[in-house]
Subunit: 131 residues, 4 copies
């Protein structure tokens, strides 16, 4: 019913951009999200796979690289599949709805994450609120 994930972390390497047979862009990358433990504990991270679709996939591939800091908003998806050895496996990945770039782009000031979801962003005028 509700499935919301919000992460801030750094890319472990360049995004991997591909296209489905029907021509839709998909990018994948892994986010290192540091855990915060007591100081004496080893610094650890969760390495979380991110999937981005369509135009945002291409923007991520164009502007993101290893070490870049991003905020990802999406949903947690659990997929079952058989690997190359025929072993049944489960894959967890966050399907990104929005990716925000939190440090400066390498070659440009570009910003990803066109957000098309909010009512107030679809172009009607909020000054015209009837309350």
């Amino acid at each position: 019913m509700l499935n919301k994930v919000i992460l801030i972390g750094r890319l472990t390497k360049e995004p991997d951009l591909r296209y489905t047979t029907s021509g839709i862009a998909v990018a994948k990358f892994t986010l290192a999200v540091d855990r915060r433990f007591s100081k004496d504990r080893e610094k650890e991270a969760d390495f979380i796979d991110i999937v981005v679709w369509q135009k945002q996939a291409e923007t991520c591939a164009n502007y993101l690289g290893k070490g870049r800091l991003v905020a990802v908003e999406g949903r947690l998806q659990i997929r079952s599949y058989d690997d190359s050895q025929g072993i049944r496996r489960k894959a967890a990945e966050v399907v990104a709805e929005n990716v925000r770039f939190l440090d400066r782009a390498k070659e440009s000031g570009a910003v990803a994450g066109e957000n098309q979801g909010y009512g107030s962003e679809i172009g009607f005028n909020e000054d015209d609120i009837p309350f």
Copy 2:
């Protein structure tokens, strides 16, 4: 850059549905969101104003009433305005992106919250992932 609010609470009364001059539906209601304090403290709630636009506004008006339990996902919006006495005021409201009904509807089993944001929900086939 990121502005995400997730609330679970109960409507304090029926939603108020109106239309902008350009014909767009807007519903408003207030959510009572209980705080969790130590047992000895008064039980209190935050009363948070919710704004819903377009088709979801009408679904909320049709199916929600006083006391109904909902989950709201949206963004926090701060608006400045002058009240009827000419006093400058700030209004805080959560602009809902999705409203989920968490208990049974009074007159129907209807469900609001058509979600149009996620890539995987826009109709391409995830079995066709090129990874």
Copy 3:
């Protein structure tokens, strides 16, 4: 840095309650979180593993059962391990910080969700998981 997951879904069966060798309660259960697709698509769900620690683990075990509706707030944790066949696997689970009961308890009106911070911050050893 930031790792936040919020889910609403139904338990697929009773929680499994165990204790670490040092006597700390841990409960596990799976949440079925329905995806929302276009009407013509199969209704599907993500089946997401939840881990709960300490007092909340016992509250969940006492009051939750198959089909119960809950809201879970926590963080996404990726663990690597070797399964019984010696195959390296990754497990994804949501470590719950709070579990809210959204429908009536079977035998009582009890409410869980005492917020004590993350299990992993109170000093017990997560390598000591009895699963």
Copy 4:
């Protein structure tokens, strides 16, 4: 029941640090959170008041200044009060549970965000706010 806010934005000025009569640190600052609209629309922001308690309040006061980029996780709180002219007003603020510094600190590499749970759960009196 659930009241979760996650924001990323920039401080509009230095945090204002005070102490309650019982000696508890409280910091307040305003976060400018850019909205994302269609390109032709004015760039706008929501200016959201943040309250931080205890040790994090002092860390924020020590390390944050105007323009700094932070992620705030907290809950939305609506307070009613009478202003200096005796006019009843409502104030909305986000009570921060965690503040993460997303760009480099001015004078140090310090990191805030020790997670101690909500201020309001540790027993001090929120009516005793020195603002």
